[in-house]
Amino acid sequence: MIELIDVSFAYPQQPPVFDSFSWDVEAGEIWSVLGPSGCGKSTLLLLLAGLLRPQSGQVVIAGERIVRPRPRTGLILQEYGLMPWATVYDNVALGLRIRRFYGPDGRHVPQDEHIDQAETRARVDRWLARLDIAELASKYPGQISGGQRQRAAIARTLALQPDLLLMDEPFSSLDAPTRESLQVLTLKLCAEAGLTVVLVTHNIEEAAFVGQKVLLLHAPPNRQTRMIDNPHTANESYRSSGAYQQTCALLRQRIDEDTPRQSRGETVL
């Protein structure tokens, strides 16, 4: 599903974040990407989303080299990205309206996708109900809680029926109970649709709970692909299992191994 082939990327006047970095993700896999701030997690996600382009190497998704955002990739951000002037309904409908605006041109919108007004309404209603925010449809983002906003952002993305979902610290600004229930719900919805998921987080527990595989990044430049396997099904009981505790301990240990290198004076971005 995702192939990163010898990808190098640096921001202007900065040391490289990725240097000949390669990584493979199979379709249907659920990955966490874990690392400290400034390690390049969000950069990796923006490269996958086609919102940044590598200086060398290739990002290939579903066999297609990525040079611009791909219509079947969904992106969810920590700060929701909802438009404050539009109601929850209009925010959730936005992606579908953009598809109607362009029509199936193959560039902004998949060529086989024809969306009319009735289809828009049906899909928005369905996803509002799935995310349990149907009664908030006429509210503005400023009138609802952070968890409800993130539900609206998730509904907006899933309404476009993506095959790849990228999430950048999606639950970080939420309180613990909201975060945990939204993690479970999101993973359930992704499993139903058979989505490939890449979730970026700085939180060890979240990485262990969500990711069936965990990619570890460290202070740049990232060259080698370091990952651990974490096969499990993410339901509430997993959180109290020994396997979960072990994964958390292992991840903590691997992160700690990186820390001395940083404190020896390497630049941490």
Binding site: L46, A49, L51, P69, P71, T73, G74, L75, I76, L77, Q78, E79, Y80, G81, L82, M83, P84, W85, A86, L94, G95, R97, I98, R99, F101, Y102, R107, H108, V109, S138, K139, Y140, P141, G142, Q143, I144, S145, G146, A153, R156, T157, L160
Partner: protein, 269 residues
């Protein structure tokens, strides 16, 4: 985070919307203030008893009588000039502001010019514009348009430049290219800026229209007030003209204010 506070506009239980209540009490207090001002005027006029200060009753009855005759035509001429100026200024300044807000390079190039031109009191340009454009409506409309233009340009530019990057990233990830971003993000985001700019500058616009109408025209409230006061010495008519001009400014202010409240309901959230 703000929790749910406001009620939707239509309330199923038939009780009054709290916003309507506030609007009603605001209307009542405005009416009361107007009444007190008229009483003060009446009191002073009755005390001093001079022809250059008729009573409000004399002025208002003249206003009603004259609206059906000459004054109505002059009022309409002024109204059309202001409305034409607002339309022209919005149509020119909104796209220009949106372009400057999106392109830092262009903004760097042009902002010194705006910085120099924006604070110039446009009223001093009246004689120059009259020299170039001669008699008729054009110079009056142009001068008022110039006042509104800069105000709208600056506010729209800043609102476009200050759109949260998360909104742009996430809307781009929904498939939006330049055109869709303009249609679904930049344009609706600029609405409050346009309305605020028009509302804030409407007083100045009407004041400058008054000055502009003193020259090279035989229509408009400026001309009417001047001719009644300094040539025909018909003071009740002059006062009727002054009231008509105040109503013009106040009425436009109220209209824009009401549109702003309606269009920017989300800002109360």
């Amino acid at each position: 985070m703000t929790q749910s506070v406001n009620q939707p506009a239509e309330r199923a239980d038939g009780t009054a919307d709290p916003r309507d209540e506030t609007a009603r009490s605001r209307g009542l207090s405005l009416l009361l203030a107007a009444l007190i001002l008229l009483l003060v005027w009446e009191f002073v006029a009755l005390t001093v008893q001079i022809p250059i200060l008729p009573t409000p009753w004399a002025a208002l009855s003249t206003l009603v009588r004259e609206l059906g005759r000459d004054l109505g035509r002059h009022f309409l001429a002024s109204l059309l000039r202001v409305v034409a100026s607002i339309t022209l200024a919005v149509a020119l300044a909104t796209p220009a502001g949106l372009v400057l807000g999106q392109s830092q390079r262009l903004n760097r190039l042009l902002s010194p010019f705006i910085y120099l031109l924006y604070p110039i009191p446009k009223v001093v340009l009246v004689p120059i514009v009259l020299l170039f454009l001669g008699v008729g409506n054009a110079p009056k409309i142009v001068i008022v348009t110039m006042i509104l233009f800069f105000q709208i340009l600056v506010l729209v530019r800043d609102s476009a430049a200050n759109i949260q990057p998360e909104i742009l990233t996430s809307v781009r990830s929904l498939g939006a290219g330049r055109r869709a971003l303009f249609r679904f993000v930049y344009l609706p985001a600029s609405v409050p800026a346009v309305l605020t700019a028009v509302r804030q500058s409407i007083g100045t616009a009407v004041a400058v229209l008054y000055i502009a109408e003193l020259f090279a025209t035989q229509y408009g409230l400026g001309y009417y007030i001047y001719i009644q006061g300094s040539t025909l010495f018909d003071y009740p008519k002059m006062y009727a003209g002054v009231i008509a001009m105040s109503v013009l400014g106040l009425g436009l202010y109220f209209v824009v204010d009401a549109v702003e409240r309606r269009a920017c309901r989300w800002m109360e959230a």
